[in-house]
């Protein structure tokens, strides 16, 4: 068969080439060349993806697996290759990753202009694209794990990009370690897969699942739970979401690319990719749905009181990822992926717009010191508005379609589904509320920069400036996508993905759906109204509300003290165990003790023997004589016993 040439490896290898060039030589190259390299390779990568998409549009059949993939690990009968597979799901993901990725690269050229380590930043960013495309294109779990860990690494490097800031280093470390907890689950899941299927290849596992319907629910549940642990780590869900808010220490474009649009959706992608297994385990599905819903609600509540603009967006990301989990959990994989895509558009836009604001205010991130930026930064304001409307779920913005699809699917998912839908709807209200709170605080009203900066007189707004075109262009493109991204409609989207994600839980058209949609928009409008009430006018209402709800507010501002609880329950005990139980009891008492005992015994016997070696000639002679006498006596005794000679005596004695 004449296989279409897709050059799949190039999609990953182009950014890697960019990483190598900038990483090895970037420090010595002028900025212009660094930027060219950094932009060119993602663009090439996007071109390859776009070409593939065009071919699919032209009727090419998916999936396409690149033949002749080089072997990676081969031991015994176990074999894993660098196998890239393109199917509908990965195509969608790739378009998002390389497309949004390229836009954010473009934006970064403006945003990072004055930063030290410009080349380093772009090297890392290209490295991230490399790993992310590997993750998406991987044809087996192990290769996916490569991307999985790799994006974690890129994320670590980029979060810690400002190497002079301790908090950045801490945040990077925290992100990596927490992700490692998830990776532990992923690893165990892979081992279970090997144990049960003897392969890690997606396709072969799928075939085996189809061929052996007998694979018990318990096994599938176990595997899925392990994979879920992995997914919660990467996609920042309860219980492992704690790294994402801290990850905002990184440069803002990084937050847009990695911690909003692409990397954090890897968990959702993985679940969709493995849905054949999840379908076998209702328990695991339920766990996914509940975790997702709980996270969505929980993060939304915290987002309401955050004052750092990026942290609001971070919690919002966690919350939206929760929606995607909910979608997966109720079997609406295509809806989840749909939301993943639209979310990538509007959340990237939100972050980039926030970045533009921060850039315009020379690094200010506290919303309490913003306000009134609408005039100073019109493009940023209008694009941001589009994004806010999209995330809140207003018709006809992108977020409306995808969120609606998820909620509808949840609504039809039995009793539990109804409950989840209720929570999801409340979350939508909260989402709308906190997004408009951000919108009001940032762009409307008066500039509050002066109120907190004694002595400087004028606020930020006075000298706030609009960002350069190279930053605004991505904003505009993303704004267009945020508006139109959902128009494709869930039915067509689900139909496209069907070969991969299976028959979607059919959303029955008609009254129910219409009712749900209207309800969702109403809820979003309510959220806007509340936000307007509290923050739109003068903030007095906000202050009053804050007064009356002080305990809850404290709880939310403390982020439920989850970090502190983890520290107290996990980090401290581990350190305590290591330091005292292992360090003192194990190392000092047992290991060192035995070492001391040993050297003590040797030292003592050495001391005794040293006395013997008095240095006195006559004493040596005496011992010599005694030894000679003893040997002779021994030989004589042998003779008396009738043995023949000395050698026989020795033999006799030893026996």
């Amino acid at each position: 068969m004449n296989e279409p040439m897709l050059f799949l490896p190039l999609i990953a290898l182009f950014p890697f080439a960019g990483f190598l060039l900038n990483g090895l030589f970037g420090s010595r190259l002028p900025k212009a060349i660094v930027s060219t390299i950094a932009l060119l390779f993602p663009l090439l990568s996007f071109a390859v993806v776009a070409r593939a998409a065009w071919m699919v549009h032209g009727g090419m059949l998916l999936p396409v697996a690149e033949s002749g993939a080089p072997t990676w690990i081969a031991v015994g009968g176990f074999h894993v290759g660098f196998q890239f597979v393109l199917d509908q799901l990965s195509l969608v993901m790739l378009l998002v990753v390389t497309g949004v990725g390229f836009l954010i690269h473009l934006y970064s050229v403006g945003y990072m202009e004055h930063e030290q380590g410009y080349w380093r930043y772009f090297a890392y960013l290209n490295l991230f694209l490399f790993f992310m495309t590997v993750l998406v294109l991987a044809g087996n779990y192990l290769l996916m794990f490569v991307g999985w860990e790799g994006v974690g690494l890129a994320s670590y490097l980029l979060i810690g990009f400002y190497i002079d800031r301790k908090s950045a280093g801490d945040a990077g470390k925290k992100a990596f370690v927490v992700n490692r907890v998830g990776d532990f689950g992923f690893l165990i899941g892979m081992f279970l897969l090997i144990a049960n299927f003897g392969t890690l290849n997606f396709h072969r596992i799928g075939t085996q699942l189809a061929g052996h319907p007998a694979i018990s629910g318990a096994t599938a549940t176990l595997i899925c739970l392990c994979l879920i642990l992995g997914a919660t780590g990467k996609s920042a869900q309860i219980p492992l979401y704690i790294w994402l808010p801290d990850a905002m220490e990184g440069p803002t474009p990084v937050s847009a690319l990695i911690h909003a649009a692409t990397m954090v959706t890897a968990g959702v992608y993985m679940i969709a990719r493995t849905h054949a297994l999840f379908d076998l385990s209702p328990t695991a599905m339920m766990v996914v749905a509940v975790v997702g819903t709980a996270t969505a609600f929980f993060a939304a509540t915290v987002a309401m009181v955050q004052t750092d603009i990026k942290r609001v967006l971070a919690y919002s990301t966690i919350s939206q990822l929760g929606y995607m989990f909910l979608g997966c959990g109720v079997g609406a994989y295509s809806a989840a992926v749909f939301h993943l895509m639209t979310h990538a558009f509007f959340k990237a836009l939100l972050f980039l717009a926030a970045g533009s604001v921060i850039h315009g205010l020379s690094g200010e991130q506290d919303m309490r010191r913003m306000g009134g930026l609408r005039k100073a930064m019109p493009v940023t304001f209008w694009t941001m508005t589009a994004a806010v409307l999209a995330i809140s779920g207003f018709f006809p913005f992108a977020g409306f379609f995808s969120k609606d699809a998820i909620l509808a699917a949840a609504f039809q998912h039995g009793t539990l589904g109804k409950a989840l839908w209720t929570v999801g709807l409340i979350t939508a209200l909260l989402t709308s509320f906190y997004m408009f709170r951000l919108w009001y605080l940032t762009f409307l009203g008066e500039s509050r920069g002066a109120a907190h900066q004694d002595g400087h007189g004028d606020g930020h707004a006075a000298h706030a400036h609009e960002s350069p075109w190279i930053m605004l262009l991505p904003l505009v493109v993303l704004a267009l996508l945020s508006v139109t991204g959902g128009w494709i409609g869930i039915e067509r989207f689900a139909g496209f993905l069907e070969p991969v994600t299976g028959q979607a839980a059919m959303v029955d058209a008609g009254h129910t759906e219409l009712f749900l949609s209207v309800l969702a928009v109403l809820v979003a409008a309510l959220g806007w109204f509340l936000a307007h009430l509290f923050f739109g006018r003068d903030g007095e209402a906000a202050a009053q509300a804050a007064q009356s709800l002080a305990p809850i507010r404290r709880l939310l501002q403390g982020k439920y003290w989850i970090d502190e609880i983890y520290t107290a329950l996990i980090v401290r005990p581990v350190q305590w165990l290591a330091r005292f139980v292992l360090g003192w009891l194990g190392e000092w008492t047992l290991v060192r003790g035995s070492a001391w005992l040993m050297s003590g015994v040797v030292g003592l016997s050495g001391e005794l023997l040293r006395r013997w070696q008095s240095g006195n000639l006559r004493s040596y002679a005496a011992w010599l004589a005694a030894g000679a006498a003893a040997l002779l006596l021994f030989a004589l005794a042998g003779t008396l016993l009738g043995l023949n000679g000395f050698a026989d005596s020795i033999h006799w004695a030893v026996r």
Binding site: S619, A621, A629, L632, L636
Partner: protein, 167 residues
């Protein structure tokens, strides 16, 4: 005749050895050692080892003992002092010596029953016999001893030489 000669010179040897032990001054000890060695030379002769007897007189009684007396005189070391340096020498050493003697004697006495007698009429090992073995079968070891002695001479010179102030 043999018995008489043996008894006389055995007695000389033992007396000389005893005197070596009893004398306080090294020079007296050295002279008694010469007595022992000379008596041994006669005993060698009795055992039919004529070359060894001569060598004993020349090498031992002559060369080595002269060296000893020279050194004693050179150093002019007086009577030895009474010191009790080593506990072990008395506690371990002397019982060991007794045991040694007892073991050796009993072994010799037990084995000696089978040995023959030594008399004057026994054949003499001539120097010819000796040299035939020495220069034919054992030429290499013999030549090696010459190297050994050469090294010993060099060593002795190096050791006994006065260092020129840089010690």
């Amino acid at each position: 005749m043999h018995l008489v000669l043996f008894l006389i010179f055995a007695l000389f040897a033992l007396a000389g050895a005893a005197n070596l032990l009893l004398q306080k001054h090294p020079i007296n000890s050295a002279l008694s050692l010469i007595v022992v060695m000379s008596s041994l030379a006669v005993l060698y002769l009795l055992l039919g080892a004529e070359f060894l007897a001569m060598a004993q007189v020349i090498v031992y009684a002559g060369a080595i003992m002269v060296l000893f007396t020279f050194v004693v005189m050179l150093l002019n070391e007086g009577r030895e002092e009474k010191t009790w340096g080593s506990h072990a020498a008395r506690v371990v050493g002397f019982p060991a010596v007794v045991a040694l003697l007892a073991v050796l004697a009993s072994a010799i006495l037990r084995a000696g029953r089978h040995y023959g007698m030594v008399s004057l009429s026994d054949g003499i090992t001539t120097t010819q016999d000796l040299s035939r073995v020495l220069f034919r079968d054992l030429l290499l070891p013999f030549e090696l001893t010459s190297v050994l002695i050469l090294i010993a001479i060099l060593g002795a010179v190096a050791l006994a030489r006065k260092d020129d102030g840089n010690a």
